[in-house]
């Protein structure tokens, strides 16, 4: 859902680590890519705050907090436990794959 970068003079290699606890648990890092551990539901929680530490090859680091706002996908509307996926006026391709847990 996002790409992390660090501004520092010169050429450096950065390693990113995610904070612990709180909203951080809903996310994960893959290199400099910020990923979600789960699908978010705006009706349940509309925003999150995570903490990311960037460390260079000289072990110099900087830690920052990032607010993350959840926005509605216009194709998805939810009423209770019923989710409606709305296509376009043209020919759409819809695919659903059931999952035992987590996201579908």
């Amino acid at each position: 859902m996002g790409t992390l970068s660090t501004a520092e003079t010169g050429t450096h290699t950065f390693t990113y680590t995610l904070g612990t606890g709180g909203d951080n648990t809903r996310f994960t890092l893959s290199g400099n890519q910020l990923l979600t551990n789960d699908a978010f539901d705006i009706a349940t929680q509309a925003s999150y705050t995570i903490t990311v530490t960037s460390t260079d090859e000289g072990n110099r680091s900087v830690t920052k907090s990032f607010p993350i706002a959840i926005t509605d996908d216009p194709a998805l509307t939810r009423s209770g436990t019923t989710l409606t996926v709305t296509g376009t006026a043209g020919a759409d391709t819809f695919s659903y794959t059931a999952a035992r847990c987590g996201t579908a």
Partner: protein, 311 residues
Amino acid sequence: MTLNNVQLAVNAASVAAINFAGGGGGDHATLSGLDNDTAVLTPTDARLTGSGYTVDAPNCTVVSAFSSGAGSNVTFTLEGGDTYVGRYDYSEAASSLNKFYNFAIGFHTAVGNAVAGSGSKAFMAVNPNNADTLNATPTSATIAGSTYSSRANNFSLVAAYAKNNATAANLAQATMSTSSNAGDIIGGVQGFTFTQGTVAGNAYKVYAVYFSKVTVSASANTTAFIATSNHSSDTYTGTPTSSEVKGSNFDVTVQNCGKVQAYAGGTGQTATLKRSATDGVKVWSPTVTENKGTGYDNFAIGYGTINTVII
């Protein structure tokens, strides 16, 4: 879940039902369950229900549904003149007007429901590697094996196929029946048996192709036309209640027919006509003999040897 190949993230824990509103156009939906799902596919709707989820995809032009497990089942509803394919490995329903095409794979049990008397056709195929079965009445035909069952209801024509030149491991068997209405007929030769007639005022035809052993139950109003193949060792045996043409790799038996005409398919073959002592026997020519009694009338035609036996 995706829409137009864009991933849509959904928290499955908070969603129990999903409804796809296509919004027009020729939409395609692919619904993949886990196991033991139930799918209902109609010309205007598609629903897949599994443990903890229900997905609806109405008004799609093309729907593909996937599942697995012995408890999985799919039901197709067709419109007049549509075609159903029920095979051991997949099933589908296709609109005769190109309005829809519904497809299902992996379901243990499939049922196709046609509009009676509409000219709808069902094409079915058993697993060619197993000794599977066909059970067909004028209104319903079911093929079944150890891992599947497919039934076609109220089709004007059902054509069911087994493996040609089957070996001992895959000798498919068919059990069929006619209605009790006047004018129903049976045809049976090596590799092909059919029934046809009317039921509830609607014409029906059922074809069993390449089934090794076929048994057809009929009525006094039914006439059967059966024949041996061209092998000299083939035989015909007719009794008041049962007539059988038989060869090394086929066996067609018709039961309780009012009239049976059995034809020799080759030279040097033997027919045996059995009757009670009070029934009549008439030798029309050296190769045509008739046994006739209450409720039956059996002809052996063209056989090199015709034996008549009192039972």
